[in-house]
């Protein structure tokens, strides 16, 4: 039920990106304990990255 952008496995894996991976960071903000960065992918789709931050705003290691 999911989705992917990558080419099929038969595609050469070492080919470098042919387009900028991310056009720009739209905005960055705090949401609760997270720092949120909003990007646009090269094809126009939204990409949002979330990072845990401490009370003082420092990034924390939330583990994987």
């Amino acid at each position: 039920m999911t989705e992917g952008r990558r080419e099929p496995p038969s595609e050469p894996p070492s080919e470098p990106p042919s387009e900028p991976p991310s056009q720009r960071t739209v905005e960055a903000e705090r949401v609760g304990p997270l720092l949120v960065e909003r990007h646009r992918k090269a094809d126009g789709r939204a990409l949002i990255l979330y990072r845990a931050v401490a009370e003082d705003g420092a990034e924390t290691a939330a583990g994987g």
Binding site: M1, T2, L49, G63, G64
Partner: protein, 330 residues
Amino acid sequence: MGELRFNELRAEQVDYTIDRQERTFLPPADHCPLCPTRPGRTATEIPFASFEIAVFDNRFPAFAAPRGAAEVVVYTDRHDGSFATLAPARARALMWVWRERYATLAARADVEYVLIFENRGVEVGVTLHHPHGQIYGYPFLPPVPAAEAAADERLGGCAPCELLRRELADGRRVVYENAHVAVYVPYAARWPYEAHVVLRAHRASLPRCTAAELAGLADALQALTRGYDALFARPFPYVMAVHQAPTGGARAAPSPAAPGATDPGRAASDPVDPGGGAGGHVHVEFYPPLRTAEKLKYLAGSEQGGGTFIVDVLPEEAARALREAIAGAA
């Protein structure tokens, strides 16, 4: 783009999205589109060398603006593992991501219901193994939340509140509790090891939860999923669905900051009051297809033709086994 057709005999919408036939299907790990992008390699969905949690518009959406939304939520940049094996801090952070996405999608005029879910395991149709979930913003109210609203009506108030009260009073099907959340196999479970993870307090949606409640929810979800994996000593497939209030009623005053559509990354601080409409109580339902370690429960004649589930395991027995598995996995 997809096409909605109304099925008169079932009184339900059917979504035809034929482009999804082309979506990536079980690629090898070194071609995973949800991994971070490695130097010198073709960009994945996340064109960064590392990340914590990422959300992006589904490349093969079942719903898309101006008729809904479909997003992918990647829990970690590590390819292996599962929700159960996330560090507790990451699982708690994920609750905030869900909260933010619900609030943002609730603000959109073309989204009537936000469903956060995860399909785990090829048994339930997973096409990528990297730990991730999805979010659909439906442009209509789907049948399941509509049935929950009908249950509210039938029980004369919040149905999940009443059912939680009954389960805690009975106790036989409760498998885990913390200060903010209880987990039980429901009295009339449709799947052998179905479980519901329910906020004790009446909260219509995640934006209405306190930080402590979100943490309690994450802890309960991890306790259950770790218990699932311990139950048969194997990765336990499931469908996980986060149930919250419909969002159509939350937009009494549509905001110009919520244009709908073209920007699913809008801020969560939108001035709507998501989840403040009628109905809804935050709970997470798990539908695992296994009935034994090797045997699947199929939706067959009675389930599909008659709409009646035939179940091989009594909920009380399933709860006993699951309770022991959760305790053993703690």
